[in-house]
Every structure is written in C-alpha cells, then in structure tokens.
Symmetry: C2
C-alpha cells in the first residue's frame, strides 16, 4: 500500500465530492472529551452483572487478511514471512496496514483534531453491553438503508431501554458479502459506494437521549456508503465515543444478553485500528 | 525494519549459539492441538463468576510505539501519517511491525510447525483468571532469576490451587525499565541478554499438574534472557497454550481476584501479535 497515493486519492475524493467537516461542532456541544470521559465506565458493575450467565464466546471479528474490502479501493494490508520454524527455529510475519482496515475501531482523533488517540482512550468502555438493531430486511431492498430513530424506539419497545454504556450495533446482513470485495463495497458506475449505516439523527438521538459507549456496523463505515458529509462520524467521534466497522456474526447475538469485549493494541497516536471483538452470551 | 536483515541476524544468532528446537516433542506428548483445544474454554462459567465483583479495569498493555525494547535489537515498528484532519478532513496512520513487538501474544505456530495460527486459535481462552507470581525481590539480585516449581507451590499455599483456565504471569518488576531499551534488554558485552523468565520445569509442571490457558511475563521472553534452548516456549506453545510478553502493571493485580481479557486482531496465519490485555479487578 502506497501511503502517498492513498492520501492523494482520499484528498481528491474529498475535494471532488465537496465533503464538509465540522469537527468542532459536536465536540464543543458535548463539553469536550474530558467531560465525556468522566462518565465513561460507570456502567461496569451493571455490565458484569449482565454477563454473569454467559456460557459462550462468539467472535465478531473478521480474519485480518491482505485482501479485505476497504473504504479506499485497494488500500489493503500487506505481509511478509520474516522467519520460519523450518529454517530459523521459529516463525513470525511482518505486517503493514492502515489503521482503518478489517474489523477495526474509530477513535475520536479519527475525525476530531483535538480528539483522544488510542493509547490514551479510556479502557473500561471496551467492556460494553451489546444492542443489535436489525435492518437486514430493509437493506436487502435498499443498499442505502439507515438505522433510524424509529428503529431505536422499536428496539426499546421490544427489549426495554438501551442499557448504560451500550455498544449499539447495526446488523444489515452485509457481512455475507465480506469475501467478495466488489459486492461489499457495492460501488456504482460513478464509483459511489452503496451500503447501509446509521442515520445522523439516530446517532444524535443516542448521544442526546441515552448513555452509550459507542456504535458498531457490519459495513465499511458508520455512515451509509454514499455519504459525503459523514454526519455519523462527526456526531459520534467528536463527542468522545467510539465506532467499530466491519463487524461480523451480529445475527448470532441479536436479541440475546450479550456483553462485548473490544481489544485494541495501544497504537501510539492511533486514530483507531484493527481490534478483536468478542461477545459473551 | 528490514525483514531480510532481521531474518539473517536471527538465523546467525541461532546457529552461533547452537540453539536446539524440538518442536514436536511436547506437541506429541500432549496429544496434539486438537485434543488440547477440546479442554479449552470449559472454565468460562467459573471465570465469569469470579469476575462478578470487579469494579475496575486495569490496563496491562504498554503503549505500542516505534521505539520499544525488542528481542532482536532495532527490529522496531515504524509508522507514517497518511492523512490529517487539517489537510484531509480525517486522520489515520499506517503501521509496519513484526508480530512479536510490544505487549504481544505468542501463539502455538510461533514455535510449532503444525501449530495453530492466530485467526483459528480458540477465542474463549482469551478470558482467563490471572495468577501473578512475584519474583521481583529475587530479580533485583539476579537478572536471570526464574519462576520455579517452588514459587508455584508457594503461591498455592497462600492462595489455593491455581484456577482452571488461568493465565499464570511472572511479575519480575522489569516493566520499570521499559522506557530504557538498554536496561530492558540488559545485554552483556557479548550481546547476551539477561532478564527473568519462567524455568522449563515450572512451565512443564503447569501443563502436567494444572489446567492453564497460558503464561505471561513482564519481560521480552517467556524464557530467561540468556536461554539458548527456549525450553519454556517449546513446552508451552507446542502444547497448544499461549504466551504473553511485555506485560505491565502486574503489581497492581497481584493478590487480587483478577480476570483478564486478551484482545488480539485475527492476523491471518499469525504467529502471535500485538494485543490488548485488560484486567477486571
């Protein structure tokens, strides 16, 4: 992956599509990260109590490969074998990848100039009750389907209020396309991708009305594929919350009492990065 | 990091020091990985019951930087900024690193030609009760101090039997040297490193007498620095168990009822890799 090329492509796309970033807006609205941080983690005892009856671990993480679907076409990881058991007595590989590859976290600094980076982001928010919003039926008809406020209210009608510290996940069924890069990116003839995501309003409602830790999706972006304004990223991340993209197996935890463990290496100055997401059910 | 150079250096060191690898010995003794795998994870309900009273998350993970101490001198990660919020609307970095850098896992394939790799290694063993064996006083006198069978028996006399599925960790106090690469590697004039680790006998006893998930250390290697036979690696990994190197903050969980969550991205064909280790106490 040639980083100079990637940066140029991204810059060109952004300019061409007239994307607007207002990374201070929500950051200031929510009183900055320090304030947001203080409330994080208070949910831990309740979350662990919920996890008490778990008997199974379900992996929500795609295998991290050198040919995954990526937001910027072709910006894939590479790897090399450094030594082998046969030749050297032990085996190891070397990896090169951008931080937003595979099943990975978005941390506030990804979209907020003053946002926290991975190594300093509070760790206790990575243990969180899961809420899975199923829009798979709608996504089958409309690839640009969105999680709406109505979807969140309908979930609450059936399941009770979204718990404190939740990681609210969209299940769109998109993971079944993961092995097919073209189908997962689903770009039209103009190169505009089409896949489901949260609506900006739903993200805002979660921040205004509930005390979540973050949101997750089974697609390449928290926003829908054709978004040029990144409303969801710019709502969630500058507010000090995190996002997870390219989750899998959400159907297996839907409607169950699931507690998530998110494990991300402490990448210095990281904007996010590849992680492990395990569900206790 | 030049991988060809690293491989050459490692090969030369191994040949020069006459290291012997017998990666099949313990693998066969323990009936292969498939059998070992069947017993993994059975501890989950008991482990979660132990975690029930946890109220705090302690991070056992060093920040993943471009200048950490490394087993092979100078084989450090590198990173580049691909895009920035200021110039591009969002921020991300690209990383290059060997799999055994920073706080990281060793998975069976690291030392066993037929060992399982990261992406297929069972996930439920990554939730484990912690046992911390404190040899810091001895390590202060002797940098080549080892966790012995007597240390394990002494721990059990004080605390009861090592729990099912435990991650048994050596606390040697070495983490206080982490910011000083030379002090952490502690190489003598011949380039031989001196730091604490497990003894081969202690590792073998844990496999024979208790049902552990893995072992961890706050140093660069499961074996002591001057080891040329890698007895501990060759006992633990071919038996299907895992190791964690370069842990921190073990003193903070010593003697407490701690449950560990180990999060490693599912590196394809991975021999191990950078991970997050969180303790619930």
């Amino acid at each position: 992956m040639c980083h100079a090329h990637v940066a140029a492509v991204v810059r060109q796309r952004l300019q061409k599509e007239g994307r607007r970033f207002h990374s201070r807006r929500n950051f200031l609205k929510f009183g900055g990260l320090a304030t947001a941080g203080l409330a994080l983690g208070a949910h831990l005892p309740a979350t662990l109590a919920r996890a008490q009856d778990a008997r199974e671990v379900i992996d929500l993480t795609h295998v991290f490969t050198t040919n995954p679907p990526t937001y910027v076409l072709g910006a894939v990881p590479s790897k090399e074998v450094l030594v082998t058991v046969e030749n050297d007595g032990f085996y190891m590989q070397q990896w090169t990848f951008g931080e937003h590859t595979g099943t990975h976290l978005d941390i506030p600094a990804h979209f907020a100039a003053d946002g926290e980076t991975v190594e300093n982001y509070p760790a206790d928010v990575f243990i969180a009750p899961a809420v899975v919003i199923d829009i798979a039926a709608r996504a089958e008809e409309d690839p640009d389907a969105m999680v709406t406020v109505d979807d969140l209210l309908a979930w609450e009608s059936a399941n009770g209020e979204i718990p404190e510290g939740a990681l609210v996940c969209m299940y769109s069924g998109w993971e079944s396309r993961w092995e097919d890069v073209e189908a997962f990116r689903n770009a039209d003839e103009d190169g505009v991708m089409h896949f489901p995501g949260f609506s900006g309003e739903a993200a805002q409602w979660l921040l205004d009305e509930r005390n979540i830790n973050g949101i997750g999706v089974d697609t390449l972006s928290l926003d829908i594929g054709p978004s040029t304004t990144f409303d969801v990223h710019l709502t969630v991340l500058p507010a000090g919350k995190y996002g997870i993209e390219n989750l899998k197996n959400l159907a297996d935890i839907k409607g169950r009492n699931a507690t998530l463990f998110v494990g991300i290496p402490r990448y210095e100055a990281g904007s996010g990065g590849p992680c492990r997401v395990l569900a206790l059910v």
